[in-house]
């Protein structure tokens, strides 16, 4: 038996195993080490499985399995092609990085942190694989519920209003999605994506229903003009959770837009101008919004919106080159954004603030973080030799190929603004000199977070001379001009890991580009998808 026959029946495990492990993790009350191991082990397993899937699907093979062995048309199919396996692979990498970071900040010690992350991953895997729009709705909810939990855990400290906006907006979008699905079922008589192929082209009523579905998903993807919730909720939680969410929620929604437009609308050219208009607005408004922001994280969140515009250009063009570029951009963006959130998050977790005005001189204090940030920031702005250059270059090339000059112009303009914004963080946080009270505030923050004894232990580990004396030894060290605060290595490593990946994807762009091309071909011509589902 070949791999293509063995793998399909195993696909439901991608959902089942993380769910089971999440449940086991929640049952482990006392021992946080066991929870760490369960979580990292499951995520590593997910990564290994998804790499295997990428290898199997790299030639355009589509794997499909009818869950429960029901007949075609009755069952809920799980389908994996190059696009879904690539996105799943990157999401597993991000999951590992963000969990490592959360372990370093100690927030992962909370009993339900790991279980929430694992259930979230189960929902992601299901949403990426399912071949049924109603089931997509269900998996998006499976993905959102633990996210509400994660936000509320942070909300217990930060005030609940970020969580309120997040839950309200997502519930509204989900209700709209449900209405859209009802309309699709009423007009087309099925919710199976393979059966729905091209339905919106043949019947305008289905196109309207599909439009409602896409609108609902666009809210979840934070496309302008329905982006406001993102910038008001993501900065309201911890950096680790922001990283996790940034790589997952909006990106799964983008994946769904690609998939649904490819199947339901069969890449219909009639509606593409809407997508191009919306993406151009998204790029512009996102980057302009970042100008007025004062903390590193809120600047980055606004950039996220602008980048979502770039990614969706792929669907707006719906040509081979456009889709390839869009998918490449999606994969690159997930890595780079997470790296930026983690490197600025490391500063935020150590010095107690992300406000640019209250930071400075980090280049000398934390050279490793400075390098990590620089690599990811240049990649985000689209400079060689990082993956961002390849991504932006191919996106602009694809728009020019279709003679959409104004979209290309917006894309170039926006990347200039992106670079300026990154320079703002660079000059504000890394250059210049540190404010005088930086260390004192950092220590006060650490003490508030972890208690005095923690500080003493930390100080002991770093410089044994500080151990003698009163509990506030570190404080007197500061007053004596000694340096007591430093970002611990375990907070730097996750971000560095991701920055290394963006460099790798930049220098070895050929590999990822070829994979994105296969994924784009699968979207452009979904015959293989439909065939795999009906034969499974």
């Amino acid at each position: 038996m070949s791999l293509t026959e063995i793998l399909p029946p195993l696909l439901p495990l991608l959902v089942g195993v993380p769910l089971l492990m999440g449940a086991i993790g929640a049952a482990v009350r006392k021992n946080k080490r066991i929870r760490h191991v369960i979580s990292l082990g499951t995520l590593a397993g997910l990564l290994a499985f998804s790499i295997l899937l990428v290898v199997v699907t790299h030639d355009g093979t589509v794997l499909a399995h009818q869950v429960g062995m029901w007949d075609y048309g009755i069952s809920i199919p799980f389908v994996v092609d190059a696009l879904s396996s690539l996105v799943l692979m990157i999401i597993s990498i991000l999951g590992i990085a963000s969990v490592l970071f959360a372990m370093a900040t100690h927030e992962a010690r909370a009993r339900f942190y790991h279980p929430f992350v694992l259930v979230l991953m189960a929902g992601v895997a299901g949403a990426l694989m399912t071949g049924d729009i109603f089931n997509l709705f269900v998996f998006i909810e499976v993905m959102l519920l633990p996210s509400y939990g994660l936000l509320a855990m942070m909300g217990a400290k930060l005030g609940a209003h970020g969580a309120r906006i997040y839950v309200s907006v997502n519930l509204l979008a989900s209700t709209l999605l449900l209405i859209g699905i009802a309309l699709v079922y009423a007009t087309a008589g099925t919710v199976n994506l393979a059966e729905l192929r091209g339905a919106a082209v043949e019947d305008p009523a289905v196109a309207v229903a599909g439009g409602v579905v896409l609108t609902a998903i666009s809210i979840k993807a934070a496309v302008v003009p329905v982006h406001g919730w993102l910038t008001r909720t993501y900065p309201m939680t911890s950096p680790a959770v922001t990283t996790l969410f940034s790589g997952i929620h909006t990106k799964v929604a983008i994946y769904a837009i690609y998939r649904i437009y490819s199947l339901l609308f069969d890449g219909d050219e009639k509606f593409l101008w809407v997508a191009l208009l919306v993406t151009s607005l998204t790029m512009l408004i996102g980057v302009l919004g970042a100008i007025g922001e004062k903390t590193t994280r809120s600047i980055l969140v606004f950039h996220m919106i602008s980048q979502i515009g770039y990614i969706l250009i792929g669907v707006g063009l719906f040509t081979g080159l456009g889709l390839t570029a869009g998918i490449f951009y999606l994969l690159h963006h997930m890595i780079v954004k997470a790296s930026l959130f983690l490197s600025t998050g490391a500063i935020e977790e150590t010095y107690g603030t992300g406000e640019i005005d209250k930071l400075g001189g980090m280049l000398k204090r934390e050279p490793l973080i400075a390098v990590t940030f620089m690599v990811a920031a240049l990649s985000l702005a689209g400079l060689p030799p990082f993956s961002g250059f390849v991504a932006k270059f191919s996106i602009i090339q694809a728009t020019l190929e279709q003679s959409h000059y104004w979209v290309a112009a917006v894309a170039v303009l926006v990347s200039v603004f992106t670079l300026l914004s990154m320079l703002k963080i660079w000059t504000g946080v890394f250059m210049g000199s540190a404010p005088k009270d930086l260390e004192e505030r950092a220590l006060a923050y650490q003490e508030r977070m972890h208690g005095k004894r923690y500080l003493r232990v930390q100080a002991q580990a770093e410089s044994p001379t500080l151990t003698i004396g009163p509990p506030t030894a570190t404080m007197s060290a500061v007053l004596a001009g000694e340096r007591a605060v430093k970002v611990p290595m375990k907070l730097i490593i996750p971000g560095m890991l991701l920055a290394a990946i963006t460099l790798f994807f930049g220098l070895g762009a050929e590999l990822l580009m070829t994979l994105s091309e296969t994924a784009a071909e699968n979207l452009l011509n979904p015959d293989g998808y439909v065939e795999a589902v009906s034969n499974a």
Binding site: A156, L158, L171, T175, I181, M449
Partner: protein, 161 residues
């Protein structure tokens, strides 16, 4: 027709409630909105067919479509759980809450005399009380939302072992 009218009324009422400031009203709005969505799902399956949808138990043309009913059941469970979560969020804060006047806020009504913030029962079960989660400084739109420092200090601190 009656379903269309019902969906319209429910949606109108839901939108009206969304526009209110109080979180509880917004939650009630979501209850109505999810009813509207569920009725639409029902309508998608054609409500004129009302026979039992088992094979061999009736005329094929008379049998109800079971799929939308399954959809509705799933959707009800999801909407219900999220609604409960939102109700919890509605009563867990009195400060940094721009939804109600302080005297009228549900938390005040439910626990008169208490100025407790989010460290009450609803959240303690989430096991976040270890004091190890970042307190972030931020200001809300009104500029008054100072960091929740006093609150953070009230949290029990788990010492480094």
């Amino acid at each position: 027709m009656s379903i269309a009218i019902a969906v319209g009324l429910l949606t109108a009422a839901a939108v009206y409630l969304f526009m209110q400031r109080g979180m509880v009203r917004i939650v009630l709005g979501f209850v109505l909105a999810s009813h509207a969505a569920n009725l639409m799902l029902f309508a998608a399956g054609n409500t004129a067919f009302r026979d039992v949808p088992y094979i061999g138990s009736g005329e094929v043309g008379e049998q109800a479509d079971p799929l939308p009913q399954a959809f509705v059941l799933t959707a009800i469970v999801i909407a219900f759980s999220i609604t409960m979560f939102m109700v919890t969020l509605a009563i867990t804060t009195t400060r940094d809450d721009d939804t109600e006047d302080e005297e009228e806020s549900p938390a005040k009504v439910l626990a008169p005399g208490s100025t407790a913030d989010t460290d009450d029962a609803a959240f303690s079960d989430l096991d976040t009380a270890s004091g190890e989660i970042a307190v972030e400084t931020y200001k809300d739109e009104t500029g008054v939302g100072q960091p929740n420092l006093e609150h953070a200090e009230r949290m029990p601190k788990e010492e480094e072992k």
